[in-house]
Amino acid sequence: MPSSNSDRQRSPGRLWRILAVVFVLALVAAGCGNDDDSSGVTDPTPEVASGGADDSSGDASPEPADDSEEGTADAPAPAPTPELSGTIGFIKGPHSAMEVEFNEQIIADFNSQVAPDVNVEFSTYDWPVHVAELTTLFASGSPPDVQYLVDLIYPAFAEQGVLHDMTDFVNDPEWADERADISPFAWDLAEQQGGTWGVPVLGAVYNIFINETLLEEAGLLDSWDDSYESMLAAAEELTTDDVFGFAARTSAADFAWWDWYPYIHNAGGDVLSDDWTECGLVGQDVVDAMQFLIDIHTAGVTPAIGSLDNQGLFDLFAAGRVAILHHETPNIVSLNENPPGFEWTVAAAPPGPQGHTVMGNFGILSIAEASNNKDAAWEFIKHWASAPQVGRFAEQVNLQVVRTDIIGDLFAENPAMKTVQSELVPRVQGLQPHPQILEALQAAWPVAEDAFRGNLTGEEAIAGMCAAIDGVLAG
């Protein structure tokens, strides 16, 4: 029909006019929208308690707690507080396949010893997408009351006002002894941006696994970690058709920067400058450290860059095909449960020109600003962070604790973890808990990855990484 044809011919023009009007209205809406568009969103500015974090962090009673001799199992149970009631949610990333069962133990103890009328609903997030999951939960306006957050991500959530400033809670005089049992460096990580965003509970150290049998046969067991040069020489000597002398993660998907960090820290550098305003990868020592890492990855002593993921590298070590492997302590469980056909142990990276550090991440227990039951949430956090509970959990999942009072009692039958806890943890230099630290690392890492493929020198790589980091900070 003629009329319908002409309608069809006119309709695109009309559609564009309608769309143009819609976009103009949208522009007007955007222009008018710079108000505090916070419907359903909590006030992003956290209230900083009088006294502030600085007053409380270092000066809390340093006296050792009396219960330090009581170990992890015999600590006296606090009196139940029946006035607390209601339901609180608790979410955490799994550190073990039995994560739910281990946390149900903690919750059962909480109900029997502390708050019988508080129902704790435990759930887990997936580590690979945990930032997205947590963002969605916070954006919903009804996140779980308590979250286990790692230092890599909590600062961004704190900055956006979705975490409760726990300064008042952690400065409770009745909790002073417990507070003093947690290492000051851990509190430093939890106290940022003028607030206290959680109670530090666990640490994950990035150690080196070594195949003692191979190193001993080569006569290198006592000398491989004297210096970077000796490690490279050892890796070259140990590399055969079947064995790689050295391996470390190289891809951003595997958070490869954890294995890179100790070399940068040992050179006196860091991702950010001391005042966190620009790139901190400065100085010849940092360039040399990067050049060493490039050299060891291009010396033919590692698997092909990008060929194996995190688990693939560890499996290769467990099969006796890697002599020196950067990895994580939870894999000690795997080696203990399925002993490989060789002797192995854990170690730190060799010392650098300006230090001998170990990289570690730390996790804190935070309260959501949107929580309607913050008192119950705080009681639960105190319970989770108490010596018996956190100590038992750390042993169950092979993570480190940040409480100084129970170190001597932990991992009595796990020599590798004992070594990690007593020799590596004291050397830990963690990351800078800047709100954009994850973005900075994600932006800079592809440059390092490219360098490890032999495409850049140490100097070029550091320059490229700094450009990426400064770009993030400027954005």
């Binding site: 809406a29 969103v41 992003p44 998907a253 490219d450 493929r453």
Partner: protein, 312 residues
Amino acid sequence: MTDVDTGLSSTQLTLSPEEHRRLRRRYRRRTTLTAYAFLGPNLLAFIAFLLIPVVWLFVSTFRTGGVLGPAEFVGLDNWRDTFADPLARTSIRNTVVYSAMAIPAVFIIAMVLALALRTISRGSAPIRVALYLPTLQPAVVAAFIFAFVLHPDFGVINYAIRGLGGDPINFLGDTSLALPTIAGIEVWRGTGFWTMMFLAGLTALPSELYHAAEIDGAGAIRRFLRLTLPLLRPTFYFAVIFATIVNLQLFDSVFALTDGGPVNSTISVSLYIYRSLFLFGDIGFGATLSFLLVITVLVLTGLQTFLLRDRK
């Protein structure tokens, strides 16, 4: 046949012009309302789940925040940042290169398979099922299958390569191979779907034209070029537009297999949007990139509509 006695005289059956117009208006109104009644739910869904979000997305391109904290008007900052961001350019380039590899490849393979299937008169059902099975695999499952197939140490392909005396190929870890490998996986997943699509189009073609062409002495290639391809224009029209829209949204296989690596060689626009929005909380930047993707899809669709329009 017998006449039906309606009991009415011819004058009683004749409508006056006024009554005729009234009835015609009523009929039109009724059919229009019926059409709107059926279209209404879809229209509401379109407005609620597409039009409003797209408008909101556009508004968000001029703001920062707005998800976990309050929104703040930033003018054209997000647009400037997006066009100045080298990773945004890389992600756009990767997505375009990927689409340029995957779409023609899957169309050619699917067309060849469809033409072959059309010639099979018996026993084609099992082959069709086998061809379609990869399409039924969720992207993540397909990604994990290929993680094992392509693994440099124990993957089937490298096992075969080593067996033939070659060096293993680092398919997903090599910057020059990773994107073509992802494209290959997506071609594998999509071949079944497009084969069935083209087969349906071929089956619907009028056979008498082919018989006439055959009698006139046209060979198979000539028949394909002069008959099949022109007659399949509507099918191609849909296929090109749909494939472009789907492929520009490349996400799941990259997310599961490479996470954008190595060295950002497989980062796609959708993956970068995901990172900006959910990893870094950069809502304005992510919204701007998302809006650019929407505009790109619209422009390409319009261009394809123009190029593939029926020129009578």
